[in-house]
Subunit: 411 residues, 2 copies
Amino acid sequence: MALIVVKFGGTSVADVARIEVAAGKVAQEVARGNKVVVVVSAMAGVTNQLVAYCDQLGKLYDAREYDAIVASGEQVTSGLMALALQKRGLNARSFQGWQIPIITDDRHGNARVQKINAALLQERLQTGEIIVVPGFQGITADQRITTLGRGGSDTTAVALAAALQADRCDIYTDVDGVYTTDPRIVPKARKIKKISYEEMIEMASLGAKVLQIRSVETAMQDHVAVQVLSTFEDHVGSDLPGTLVVKDEDIMEKNVVTGIAYSRNEAKVTLMKVPDRPGIAAQIFEPMADAAVNVDMIVQNISADSEATDITFTIVATDVPKALKALESIESLKGVEIRVDEDVAKVSIVGIGMISHHGVASLMFRTLADKGINIQVISTSEIKISVLIQKDYMELAVRALHEAYGLEEGG
Amino acid sequence: MALIVVKFGGTSVADVARIEVAAGKVAQEVARGNKVVVVVSAMAGVTNQLVAYCDQLGKLYDAREYDAIVASGEQVTSGLMALALQKRGLNARSFQGWQIPIITDDRHGNARVQKINAALLQERLQTGEIIVVPGFQGITADQRITTLGRGGSDTTAVALAAALQADRCDIYTDVDGVYTTDPRIVPKARKIKKISYEEMIEMASLGAKVLQIRSVETAMQDHVAVQVLSTFEDHVGSDLPGTLVVKDEDIMEKNVVTGIAYSRNEAKVTLMKVPDRPGIAAQIFEPMADAAVNVDMIVQNISADSEATDITFTIVATDVPKALKALESIESLKGVEIRVDEDVAKVSIVGIGMISHHGVASLMFRTLADKGINIQVISTSEIKISVLIQKDYMELAVRALHEAYGLEEGG
């Protein structure tokens, strides 16, 4: 008897009919003799609606109240999933984040799980009960509701799998696995059977929205085997039909480039002629971190004026108001011109094999140059190379790179 | 400095714009130097939508999950109200039912408040904070979410006013007070300036949907002065613009009949030829009570068959499935025919003055007879007389009675 944590995303629980389909997947798992913990997202569209209400009251709302508001979406689905399982004659009940509790830090809107009371859930699982947990939500030590950021339900699922020492965490979604790139852009994109945690983190953070990046970090840290698979396909008799995210040692044949990721939700922020003195970067980026703005690429250029420097960095476009507020509070940036450009996209090649291969980057730059695409910012890590380009060229760049690295189906 | 609990119903918080209007009422109260606790309902339509989801999964759902689902509506409004107050520069925060906590019994879907931790709220009020509390919700002693039944936010407000020893509880709604009857049926209906708790209970329970009956019972028990008033009218400078619900000693001029109430949401259940033996009524009505079905009028007739009796009672129409389920579980009713008639309405005259007057009932019966309206069931209390009639005649009956008892404006 295995213990499986299964998680259903927003499109998998978009309405009551789909919740019943999802409940059918859970029933199959139970029929195999497994214990199951179910994690659910909000019904598709609900979280957006709740965020829109908050936005109507001003962009810079109290994140604690925001969390109390948006956490309600998952609460609804958890109750409905419990009812759908009961309708199938299964013994199920919902546990809200505060009822378990799932304790997080107090970074509201983007909190991190600190501690899960697994004992309570283990006790209930022993009685044969199916536990339904709303994803995305937790509480602080002083009992205020928190949320884990967009896609946070994946993290809830993986954190529960880790806390319960589950055998696997299945993430049911509307795609049947992780692809070499977005099939809407490249129809010949291939489904990846196995991908390493490290590659998946780069793919996820770079815009392949299959799994929330933090959930993969948590999985890597706690060695949770994660499977991405589709709610809308029949997997009866199929063993591991989706994409399995595993340790890189478990992947025999390592691709130089495993996939092409992209993100349209980028903003390039340039601080013009910043006084060039030691500590200025810390003065800029510490307040951003405090405001929970994730800074991605950072480039510092020598300005024409030798006592000043231009600093460019990228953030997700939706963080622009928070970032600007943080920047405006910095004393030493008084009078500094801030330029924001949201007409940018990020395209990245990802592959654990590139550690031991040469010429990977130059093929990328040549491919883009051949298409006349200008590179604005470059950033690299051991297993990925990212470029920032003008938004209009994004699809073209993804297609050209997918072909250049031979990722097509049958390629 | 007074402490006022103010409550806004669903139409008063139907969207963000209206929540901002409601926040303006709170700001006025604060400007008068008062401390304020705000209780909010779900945004209009939200609870119905959530109940509809549950219904799609079958009528006889687990009430504990139902409560977890429907309580979420008020959670959303509480956060939005806190944000709207903050936008006005006021110091406000939401407290969910479980965070206070508001402890109830475990009668899910129709729970009763047992205990409120007032100390926490008093402490926060001392700091000048405005407390926003979602109505309708509580938790059981073992931490499961409960709801107080339809209109339960009124009860939350009154229970909080009692626990905090507030000076007044203002119920903001979409009408400007309690009327002698529904102005949509009788345009000349008059607004009542003062009404006794007892009369208000009869008016509310009989279909004048201004206040939930249980909230008035709580108010009566704990001597909470309750005002019903409109969110959509400007009351600046007006002292007590709505209807005040008070002790009957505080009403100088007692009307024989204060108002005419009605309810369309009635069902008449008849059990045909029930074995006529001692204890049969208990065997029928105890399971109904256990199923949280409120039985209203009860009539027992001698049947043609002398060893059996017909029993007729009325319940709210929405309770029919629960009631039928409870009846089917009763051993001694096996084989008994059950007839349900939802083509009925209840019309009642209410007045604290009828205790000391004669001829009140006969005027009612004569008035209905003159209009050719057949009375199916009669039930009386010290301060009200109710009749069950065919639904089609309800408006006609209300108009005729309103005129017969001289309740018109200027009448």
